[in-house]
Symmetry: C2
């Protein structure tokens, strides 16, 4: 798939085939591509915890509440993306410029994860609603969780939807 | 190019062929792919200002200082990525969860821009060091600038470098 095909095909999947496992080589490929993501001062200020089985079920449960994300328990894998410290130069730049580079970097690596997953025929959903404290306990991590990504094969009836986006004229201007 | 090839080929380019323009159709393709990026609650909380010519030179100048980013003036295009307001549901979620979704979304859209540019044979560098106030004046935008992306063709002698990244064992664990 070329990148446009990936961008078109990627959509938030909320209907997983719970019985279909993700092949180890596809998971590895996704993580290897994520590793290549750029970050401010190459700080790579993130960590990925791959959750399967009972841990995945418990993390999925920690993503529910207020009617949110009930589908997450069907996904065979949940990727927990937590933050890691800045390196010194990124920390200094962030302070001087008042810019949250770490969150930007976490966005970039998540785009890489979801793009490579799509290229591998897998489906994802990026979750920003979760119980940080509980997931930290489940995963044994001591730094804030920033995103959770569900990963698996979509059910056969989960069709590609039209994307609703701003028109280019609302998104872009030229100077 | 498949996504791994894109991830391998994308690198921060600091040596542009100043005389080689970016074709209009390639720029459009990049912006169209950026438009497809996912964001929290589909809020798309960003705006892209495409700067060319004298505006690009002035924006490049506003990215220098303390020895940084001198190469930016060689790039024929600078993309200024500024933030836009959250939509209501993303704003509420961000407040309740203390998570900076907007910066994450800006990271995702920037990953889309640099990935599609790479697929089109173009080179980029993501700049986080710039004079926000001055770029706002130059671009006529009233909201904070978050990133500037240089865009153009690399000079022929700008070879692919090896990427220095954490080992997968430092980036990933399994639960």
């Amino acid at each position: 798939m070329n990148f446009r095909e990936i961008a078109d095909a990627r959509q938030s999947c909320r209907s997983y085939d719970a019985g279909r496992e993700v092949e180890r080589e596809k998971l590895t490929r996704i993580l290897e591509s994520a590793r290549l993501a750029p970050s401010a001062c190459n700080g790579q200020p993130y960590f990925i915890t791959v959750c399967r089985g009972e841990t995945a079920k418990s993390v999925a449960d920690a993503c529910t509440g207020m009617g949110m994300n009930k589908f997450a328990s069907e996904a065979p894998i949940l990727l927990v993306i937590s933050e890691m410290p800045y390196n010194k130069s990124a920390a200094l730049g962030s302070k001087l410029k008042g810019n949250d580079y770490r969150s930007i970097d976490i966005g970039i690596v998540t785009a890489y994860i979801t793009a490579e997953a799509t290229a591998q025929g897998l489906s994802t959903c990026i979750l920003g609603w979760f119980d940080d404290k509980r997931i930290r306990e489940l995963c044994g991590i001591d730094r804030p969780v920033r995103l959770v990504v569900t990963l698996g094969y979509a059910k056969a009836d989960d069709k590609l939807r039209n994307k609703k986006r701003k028109d280019l004229s609302e998104l872009v201007s030229e100077k």
